[in-house]
């Protein structure tokens, strides 16, 4: 699958970055039909927040 091939390209990156990239891509794909996707910035902020919280918990 194409998604797996894309994610394979990011294998050198830190796991958190990989996860953020994967989730953001998923959201963008959902809204690909919209020229100016409504709420995408908030969606990405949520993804980043969750990833950062996970990191904070680990600390």
């Amino acid at each position: 699958m194409l998604k797996d091939r894309i994610m394979e390209m990011f294998k050198e990156y830190d796991e958190n970055i990989r996860e953020v990239v994967g989730q953001v891509m998923e959201k963008e794909r959902e809204k690909l039909s919209q020229k100016n996707p409504i709420g995408i910035i908030d969606d990405i902020r949520k993804i980043i927040d969750n990833a950062a919280k996970r990191l904070e918990d680990e600390d």
Binding site: M1, I6, M9, V20, L32, S33, I41, I48
Partner: protein
């Protein structure tokens, strides 16, 4: 995605309930739906798209038109009439039912309340018969299965797809590649992550101390600079692309003028040869660089030669061990036998010769090192000589290539002069324009190189700045949180930016290979076409047997096939098994090529649905496809009631 069935209820010209079960068999993967013009073939396509994406996508002006007229007329006053389309399909191991319904209320005879009332439901069916209704399917589920802007590449009118193969339609090709291959998703992800990173950065500034502020400000400056440079690069690319198109138009026009036709054809050959030579020179330089970087041995060849001579002289003078190892001599003495099986008797002449040789050997480690060094140096010397010869050969090739290029450039200039001096106004003025455009293109190319280099040099600086920001020790909790979020967002954007170019290039090459393979199978004048290319500016091109561009000469049918090959190639590269549903696939294709296409068309998709007229599929074409047809239906239009119905002809 594999479609199992399509159920229509009072949809457009289809009165009452009508059902099509598509073939889901892997071998008999073709479903044929036949119908005369106006029987409802296009209606089937509309039904599929309407069910998945709704009225707004289908551009329906009056949604009441979706409901079958007869059903509306027959409905009693004050009742609700429904039209419905239901698709059952499999997608990524799940089994789903998508149903879209539309209702109108009959207020009085001839008057309906047509306020939009459309309902979409999606259910996932489990193997034990249970089902779960999915929440918010329009926003999440449908785009996951197939976003609406991608459906045009899988459900399409065969007669209208030739836009991909028409000259000047590079944008459509680029859009298709970007959308289907998720490059658009990557692009948008990068852009939006950058926006989010910028927002975090802005929030961080008031909380940061002076040192961190300095880093952030430096980063903002670098990013602003990069943004401008990237925009500049894009402008230059667009400008060059426009010039390229203008040059093509001029060339085409010149090729049409009898007086300069021969010259124009020769120029195309010369330009192609120049392109090939430049590529060859580039490859040669790469090999040369690699060869030189592998070792400096050729540079110290004299020193190695001297060292080897010195070692040989020492050996001859007995100042070096003879090359026989101490262990070997010990073994012969202990075994009392030579390797040629002759005995070595104690106190014999041979015995003392071995003892004498043994006295000349030095400690085993030192001896081994000396022997190895001499051997290594000889090998190095051989390799240095070989490398030197290769480099010399490559340099000769380079000179030859430079000479060839000079000759070709000279011939090109002579052709240009000849065209300018033709005693006709049009070619001379076209040629002048051509020269001006080429000069402009050269200048733009120079600017492009400068901007690209500046971007390349700035990127490591931004990376360094981001690392500094990420490593900066912040004590305040709120600032630390923001810093972490900024680092995640900018790091993800940066990672995508680095990958996207390489990924797009890889995909383009893969598509090109697939398109060439598929087009080669489908096209009937196979020997006429040598290759298909998708250039880095997304120009889909066919080259004829002489290697010259042949796209402008393609017939409508050939353009249709090239476009089909392109769509299928893209679909195959995605690895997603979407069905291909083609309306009027053979409309523009004559009998003989049609027979060839039907031999290969079942291979292009895991599930293929062909909506054909009775005249499109018969004789040899029909016979070729017969073994691959898993389901067949016929659409009947009943003139007396103005409605269509669907009749099953064949099913597995």
């Amino acid at each position: 995605m594999k479609i199992e069935s399509l159920e229509l209820y009072n949809f457009r010209q289809f009165y009452g309930q009508q059902l099509i079960r598509f073939s889901t068999d892997n071998n008999r993967n073709v479903t044929v739906i036949t119908g005369v013009m106006g029987a409802g073939k296009t209606g089937i396509m509309h039904a599929l798209r309407w069910c998945l994406y709704g009225s707004s996508y289908e551009g329906v002006q009056d949604i009441g038109e979706l409901i079958n007229k007869r059903a509306q007329i027959e409905a009693p006053i004050n009742t609700r009439t429904e039209c419905r389309v239901q698709i059952k399909f499999f997608h990524e191991k799940g089994h789903y039912i998508v149903t879209r319904s539309l209702f109108v209320d009959k207020v009085s005879e001839g008057i309906w309340n047509r306020e939009p009332h459309e309902v979409l439901t999606v259910a996932q069916i489990w193997p034990d018969g249970r089902y779960d209704k999915l929440e918010n399917p329009e926003q999440r589920f449908i785009p996951w299965v197939m976003p609406s802007n991608l459906s045009q590449y899988f459900f399409f009118d065969g007669e209208k797809i030739d836009q991909f193969a028409r000259p000047g339609h590079e944008e459509e090709v680029e859009d298709a590649v970007r959308n289907v291959l998720k490059i658009a998703v990557l692009d948008r992800s990068k852009k939006h992550l950058e926006t989010v990173a910028k927002a975090y950065q802005k929030d961080l500034v008031p909380l940061a101390n002076d040192e961190l502020k300095g880093y952030i400000e430096a980063n903002v400056r670098l990013e602003t600079f990069l943004e401008k440079q990237r925009a500049e690069l894009k402008n230059l690319q667009n400008e060059r692309s426009t010039i390229k198109k203008q040059l093509e138009e001029i060339d085409q026009r010149l090729a049409e003028i009898q007086a300069v036709r021969e010259l124009q054809i020769r120029r195309e050959e010369v330009e192609k040869a120049i392109k090939n030579k430049v590529e060859e020179r580039k490859r040669l330089w790469t090999t040369l660089r690699e060869t030189c970087s592998k070792g400096a041995a050729p540079l110290v060849e004299n020193a190695i030669e001297k060292a080897v001579t010195l070692l040989d002289e020492k050996r001859e003078h007995g100042e070096m061990p003879p090359g026989i190892r101490e262990q070997f001599l010990d073994d012969l003495i202990n075994r009392e036998m030579c390797i040629c099986k002759r005995p070595i008797i104690k106190d014999s002449e041979q015995y003392y010769e071995l003892i004498r040789l043994k006295s000349k050997t030095v400690s085993s480690d030192f001896e081994n090192t000396l022997i190895r060094t001499a051997g290594d140096l000889r090998a190095l010397l051989d390799s240095a000589k070989e490398t030197k010869e290769r480099i010399s050969e490559m340099m000769k090739n380079r000179v030859r290539l430079d000479d060839d290029l000079e000759d070709l450039e000279q011939e090109k200039n002579e052709i240009s002069d000849k065209v300018k001096n033709v005693d006709m106004e049009e070619p001379a003025s076209l040629e002048k324009k051509r020269t001006d455009y080429q000069d402009k293109d050269r200048s733009l190319y120079g600017q492009q190189q400068v901007v690209a280099k500046s971007i390349e040099e700035t990127l490591p600086k931004t990376e360094e700045m981001l690392n500094k920001i990420a490593r900066f020790e912040i004590k305040q909790k709120a600032a630390k949180k923001l810093q972490q979020r900024f680092t995640l967002a900018s790091g993800a954007a940066d990672a995508i930016a680095k990958m996207i170019g390489a990924f797009a290039a890889e995909m383009r090459i893969e598509i090109q290979n697939r398109v060439q393979e598929i087009f080669g199978k489908l096209v009937w004048k196979e020997s006429q076409f040598k290759s298909v290319t998708v250039s880095d500016d997304y120009r889909l091109e066919v080259h004829d047997r002489w290697g010259l561009p042949a796209r402008p000469e393609l017939s409508a049918g050939e353009r249709q096939l090239l476009s089909l090959a392109f769509i299928v190639g893209m679909s195959q590269v995605t690895g997603e098994d979407n069905p291909l549903i083609i309306d009027t696939p053979f409309g523009r294709i004559s009998k003989e090529p049609r027979a060839n296409i039907t031999k290969h068309i079942p291979e292009i998709a895991k599930q293929l649905v062909l909506l054909v007229t009775d005249e499109e599929l018969h004789s040899q074409a029909r016979a070729n496809l017969e073994q691959r047809i898993g389901a067949e239906y016929e659409l009947f239009f009943d003139d007396s009631v103005g409605c269509s119905s669907i009749k099953m002809i064949k099913s597995l």
